[in-house]
């Protein structure tokens, strides 16, 4: 790169530097909420747009590299932007722009960490995520990865006065570091003993299947810990509710995606061997994660925990796509691999938009009502129409309904399953229908979860008196929500353009893009138009036309009169808000159908209780099967180590003496 030339890499770096500068500007007057909210966060949103623009530009360009004169002596940071990192940069920038605009109106005074520090952590978090995507050597990658983990830890624990939040932050940090260790080891395996930790050197190496397998396992574990695959998901439902809503939105929408990016980078770019059963493992892990996530999502009664479990589900779907792509690639079926990888990347993008939209909407609800428990909300569509209607877009998108974006990626994924027959292994061909059925079940359950989420928060009668005081969100929050909702709609109705963009990503990785067999811009046909096609724009127009036609026809032929009255409810007079389904009540069918998934404790009243109490506690059994045994084992091991720690100086001197003797004897 010659000096002074404007390249996408330079622009994205400028965006990153802008984020760091904005963050530092906040530190100079940490208590100045006005400065932070009115100037710094909007400026951060602009920088986000710059990064997104650089990403969009770089997707079509070739790979570009740059060596930064930073880092340790002889170990500078290598940066590289290629279509894969550019795609994720676009995602990061576009979502960050919306979230930052929302955050400008979100942060209030008197919530734990002062606003200036929040601003610093927030923008360092954004910058480190961008640098993770740009890093081209293991050293730079790990430094940025850890910066990301730490800055997000501080953001999660913003409200650090609450012990529960400190505990959530600790759990998050712990799992993040165990994952980071695995990633570090993975890079160690990938560089093959040559000592050159640049990604370029890893790409050149020929890995043996055995070492490749070890690298795969480490990558799956390490990046999976960040992405939240089963059983490394435990931090997600703790950390997401603890963090302020814009931060939960960023963590769920973007940070989980950096883990997906890392996994894709290792599996499709750095590692040159592919074995078919790696794909099967990823597929099965993804399916389990998706089903587990959605089932637990259905029984939550805290709105942000519900969304966190739903994120686990979506990450599972992303991994399903990645697993399919790996499997196809191992058998050199590049066209199908391109279809599966396109579905993966598309779902990544979709999830970033709809999940950040919903997390931000919960933030507005939280501000208006100071309530996170679903059981004390309700009827907010009357008080907060902007938030409610924009959240409806996100809800329908998460539920995977046409013509919004969630449906497109699910459609592509199911197409990838349908074109599987022809895999050389019969057992794999048998696995595929079962997998497709689980994906279908997950998608249907997602609809259930979203009806619960939206219905209990926004519809019905308010479950508490004070909800009558809830006010709609301000202009900044509104603008952020509109931006993300527009993203959901556009990604849904114009899939052909998105897929053209994703083709630029899949082509260098797989040697083949998906393309569009129908030469129409409004019709999506991945293989041939006769085999499968979907035209969401036409779909949307037809639905709107039919609604308008029915509306006008009824008025033309009959009348448009309407009368308001009391609710009928089968003539039952004493109707109160408490008779509606609570969040637990709405989750009851799932508790019943999927009972083996849960660890449930029930307290049922006896027949003659004068003050009957009904209580059910639903817990994650993996906590008891995995986490607590591991914690106990760690405890026991550290207990052994304390045997050495005697607390007397003479004993420690003796240790030193023995070590010295040992060294003198055995080391020359």
């Amino acid at each position: 790169m010659s000096a002074g030339q404007i390249t996408p890499l330079a622009i994205s770096l400028a965006g990153v530097i802008a984020w760091i500068v904005i963050g530092l500007a906040g530190v100079f007057s940490p208590g100045n909420l006005r400065l932070v909210a009115r100037y710094l966060f909007p400026a951060g949103a602009l920088a986000g747009l710059v990064v997104a623009a650089a990403g969009a530009w770089a997707i079509a360009e070739g790979a570009r590299t740059l060596v930064l004169p930073l880092g340790l002596p002889d170990l500078p940071f290598h940066l590289r932007i290629d279509s894969l990192s550019a795609f994720f940069l676009l995602l990061l920038g576009a979502v960050a722009a919306g979230v930052s605009v929302f955050a400008a109106g979100y942060f209030r005074r008197g919530q734990g960490t002062p606003p200036g520090l929040q601003c610093l952590y927030y923008h360092v978090f954004l910058a480190s995520m961008a640098l993770v995507l740009l890093a081209d050597d293991a050293y730079g990658f790990m430094v940025c990865w850890e910066t990301m983990a730490l800055s997000s830890y501080f953001l999660v624990t913003s409200d650090h006065r609450s012990a529960e939040i400190r505990r959530a932050g600790f759990l998050y940090l712990l799992i993040a570091h165990i994952g980071a260790l695995a990633i570090l080891l993975c890079f160690g395996v990938l560089q093959g003993g040559g000592g050159d930790y640049t990604f370029d050197a890893m790409r050149q190496l020929d890995h043996t299947p055995r070492w490749g397998g070890i690298a795969f396992a480490l990558a799956l574990f390490g990046f999976g810990a960040k992405a939240g695959i089963i059983p490394l998901h435990a931090w997600l439902p703790e950390a997401h509710p603890a963090a302020p809503s814009p931060v939960s939105a960023l963590m769920s929408a973007v940070m989980l995606k950096t883990a997906v990016y890392g996994f894709l980078r290792v599996m499709f770019d750095l590692l040159d061997v592919k074995v078919w059963w790696w794909g099967v493992i990823v597929l099965v892990v993804g399916l389990t994660t998706a089903l587990y996530g959605v089932v637990f999502s259905a029984v939550q009664s805290d709105m942000k925990r519900l969304l966190a479990y739903s994120s686990i589900e979506n990450i599972g779907i992303v991994y399903v796509g990645a697993g399919l792509a790996l499997m196809f690639l191992a058998y050199d079926m590049t066209a199908l691999a391109a279809l599966a990888l396109t579905a993966t990347l598309y779902h990544t993008l979709n999830h970033a938009f709809f999940k950040s939209l919903l997390f931000l909407a919960t933030g507005s609800v939280l501000h208006a009502t100071r309530e996170r428990a679903l059981g004390r909300l309700g009827g907010l569509i009357h008080r907060m129409p902007w938030v409610a209607w924009l959240a409806l877009v996100g809800t329908l998108a998460v539920a995977g309904l046409p013509p919004l974006n969630g449906f497109v990626s699910e459609w592509l994924l199911l197409q990838a399953f349908l074109f599987t027959p022809g895999l050389p292994q019969n057992y794999l061909n048998m696995l595929v229908p079962v997998a497709a059925a689980s994906v279908a079940l997950t998608a249907a359950l997602a609809g259930y979860v979203m009806v619960k989420f939206y219905g209990v928060i926004f519809l019905g009668q308010p479950r508490e008196e004070r909800l009558a005081d809830a006010r709609d969100c301000g202009p900044w929050e509104r603008a952020g929500l509109v931006w993300l909702a527009a993203g959901c709609v556009l990604l849904g109705i114009l899939p052909v353009f998105v897929i053209r963009m994703i083709d630029e990503v899949t082509r260098p990785l797989l040697g083949q893009g998906l393309g569009n067999a129908a030469s129409n811009w409004w019709l999506l046909a991945p293989i041939q138009p006769e085999r499968a096609s979907y035209g969401p724009l036409l779909f949307l127009v037809a639905i709107l036309a039919a609604v308008a036609f029915a509306f006008l026809a009824v008025r033309a032929f009959y009348h448009g009169r309407v009368r308001r009255g009391a609710a009928w409810d089968c003539g039952f007079p004493g109707q109160t808000a408490r008779m509606q389904d609570s969040a637990e009540g709405f989750g009851q069918p799932v508790r019943q159908v999927f009972e083996p998934f849960f660890r449930m404790r029930r307290e049922l009243p006896g027949a003659f209780d004068s003050a009957p109490r009904y209580r059910v506690v639903v817990e994650d059994p993996l906590w008891y099967w995995v986490y607590l045994p591991v914690a106990r084992a760690a405890d026991r091991l550290t207990g052994l180590v304390t045997l050495l720690q005697r607390g007397r100086i003479s004993v420690y001197l003796m240790y030193g003496f023995i070590t010295l003797l040992f060294l003198l004897l055995f080391v020359r």
Partner: protein, 316 residues
Amino acid sequence: MISASGIAAQLTELFLAVSVAPLLTGWVNQCRAWLQNRSGAGLLQPYRVLGKLFRKEPVIAHGASPLFRLTPYVLFACMCLAAAIVPSLATDLPFNAAADAIALVGIFALARVFISLAAIDVGTAFGTMGARREMMVGFLAEPALLIVLFTASLISHSTSLSTTVEKLAHMQFAIYPSLAFAGVAFTMVSLAENARIPVDNPATHLELTMIHEAMILEYSGRHLALVEWAASLKLFVYSCTGLALFVPFGIAQRGDAAGLILALPALIAKLAVGGFLLALIETLSAKMRIFRAPEFLGAAFLLAVLGMLIHFLLEI
């Protein structure tokens, strides 16, 4: 690609579906009445009910939001769209390109989510209960339906309904055991999705087991009319889908003008038989407890997956 005859077929089919759907409901009710030794209200009763409801003034609960008023139109539009993509008369449907079998399931899901949200909207005990149960039936039935459609798609190598039906119609004498499983699963799913006995009872109110009726309790006037009409259309679309997949004879192929004329009597005959069979099933079985519904639909789901597995085992 889009021909004049295609557009004509598309419009005819849509018009036919919208106008004939209540007749099918009337026929099923009439057959059921005969089977149960009642005289019945006549084939045209659903039209009379719709006319009456449209003329009446709707009463809306105080707590209802605009979503509640919007939903009947969305439901009706969804079902019209579904009717437009299912090849009931002809396979040459231009609109078919915009939505395939997966999108058909998506349309039904969209309608289900909207009606459930509207049921929660007023905030009554029956409404939320109905919504919860409807979504339960939905999350069990939807994957089964999707797998049934997948089995047909795997046989025809296409998820486009037109192409699938064309391919299936040409393989008249080939035997597909997978389709037999799929057919049984589809019937079970159709019963559940259309609020029929044994999962739900369309003729009941004031019963703790109702699902669909519980959700639409608060609707009246034109809104109720649209909801009822949409329900008839849903039954019609489900019947046509089943007939097109499992009895694909008599549907006009691409560029077959004469076939279009023959297709209408064929469709009416098939629907008449199908409607009678539905009434027979409803008469012969008893409504099951709501918590048996997951078993019923789980069986449908397993049958559908089994059908797909059999396709992989025997038919490739």
